[in-house]
Symmetry: C2
Subunit: 331 residues, 2 copies
Amino acid sequence: MPRADGSRFDVVGIGNALVDVISHADDSFIERQALTKGSMTLVDTDRALHLYRALGSAVEMSGGSAANTVSGVASFGGLGAYVGKVSSDELGEVFGHDLHAVGVHFAPGAHLDEIPTGRCIIVVTPDAQRTMNTYLGVSSYLCPDDVDEAVVAEGRVLYMEGYLFDRDDAKEAFRHAARIAHRAGRQVSLTLSDSFCVDRHRDDFRALVEDEVDVLFANEDELCSLYETENFEAAVASVRRDSALAVVTRGPLGAAIVTRDGIVPIAAEPVDHVLDTTGAGDLFAAGFLYGITNGRSLSEAGRLGAIAASEVISHVGPRPLVELRSLDPRS
Amino acid sequence: MPRADGSRFDVVGIGNALVDVISHADDSFIERQALTKGSMTLVDTDRALHLYRALGSAVEMSGGSAANTVSGVASFGGLGAYVGKVSSDELGEVFGHDLHAVGVHFAPGAHLDEIPTGRCIIVVTPDAQRTMNTYLGVSSYLCPDDVDEAVVAEGRVLYMEGYLFDRDDAKEAFRHAARIAHRAGRQVSLTLSDSFCVDRHRDDFRALVEDEVDVLFANEDELCSLYETENFEAAVASVRRDSALAVVTRGPLGAAIVTRDGIVPIAAEPVDHVLDTTGAGDLFAAGFLYGITNGRSLSEAGRLGAIAASEVISHVGPRPLVELRSLDPRS
């Protein structure tokens, strides 16, 4: 049932629909395979197969940055929808199941069955860092026609994942979705996803942030990369000019919510033992977006982000294991 | 390279090759879905789909009782091989990968691609009990021709999983494998797997135990079911007559190793927090089999079983997360 503002969803996510293949390895594996620790690298089928063969026992779990975020929103009790492309293979089924299981509306776009569902090979090192190698598969074939206009128009905030920017059709799908959202009076948010991804597509990201983005999510590296500066203060000044609101995550230092009026600092939640940082940024965004679409102040929304991030880094896997609503200080 | 006794493997497992789909739920889910807590139930495609849809977010991990056991043997540093049937779909790939990743030789039998790889939907309740619903898929089509005779003849102990008994071809494959092993001077072991499975096939199990089994693995319920008695002492007396060696697991009470000369009691290893009992029996068998094929005494082998079982119940999933050799008191 539509709400007073005509919306059916709090957050509509668009991203690469991926199943994560998670394995533990030590730093010598990272070296031997010439991986860049902590980053996301795109790999082709051959390289994905090679890495998978070299990998120890693995666990498969649904992932995908924006999908993790809308799952987190749903776990707080919010209403989420997701736009992303899977194949009709077994991993595609797993991906759809895990969204439906938490009550997220899934708009998968047109079928394209000759290409398999995308997967992300994640190597977790003993320091809890994750190194990602993504075989995009069908997920990167998202095109403007795959964007369900009704779903986007009915979401309070559109949330787009920068990882999708690696293909032109997907970039166009982003711009298309952003225009639909704005035409419906909705907010548009974007996460920069990865500093290497920003390097590859800096101009397009800059144009999108200036023209369409109301809320920008980034970590310090990504923000500095976007504005080609090593000075965090300078990057903050630039983002203030381009975007009404920016959420800059800072790992164990918490986060900074940058508005045109000032900065709201958010402390990190204490975590006994950090096991796997996969999904930390995705879940920070989940808490923050749930908060701002449900009447919370910026600092309360930031606190929910910190709470969600602390939950997801205390176990293996990119999605919450407990109902996040049970961790909401207001519940 | 063959060893002094001509063997290439310590343990050769034969069983249903399954990928586990693991999800947490409370007891009301068990009731609502009319499941029998703690048991393994065979389900058809429709029922499997229904349960999967009703299930919350899930994680996929390679499973299969005998496959968990040979993976455990490999984790202790032993040499394992596995005979079981998968399809050439994604779950089949996952299953093969996870065996290769721990160094187990996988002999998958002939391909039969129209039927998907089997899967086991496991519901873990807050009391750490697991309730299993198995869609056997292609795994149950194992037939005598799928048994790699060279592999069986080169394993010090053949280990067969009772779950496979639900199909006549597989029963015949068991008898065939047992005969090959005995002809090569090897030992034959069997796990009864589940008391309901024993109920369904009691006469066949009894005949196999009398004729072919040198080492029988069972828990108390399964052993009592095999001999149709509620008296554990009476069941022990019967198994002593039928089998040279029996390993009876007793949950938190540890285990009893029953020989013709007496009983060797094995204490359970202390566990801080039992999270998921999936794989407890499989891993007890792994430790015990690694022990007896590597020159350990019965009580030392039993201790390795208890150690492996305690590791696997302290986390979610049916296979060890640490190298079991690091927990071996002799290492």
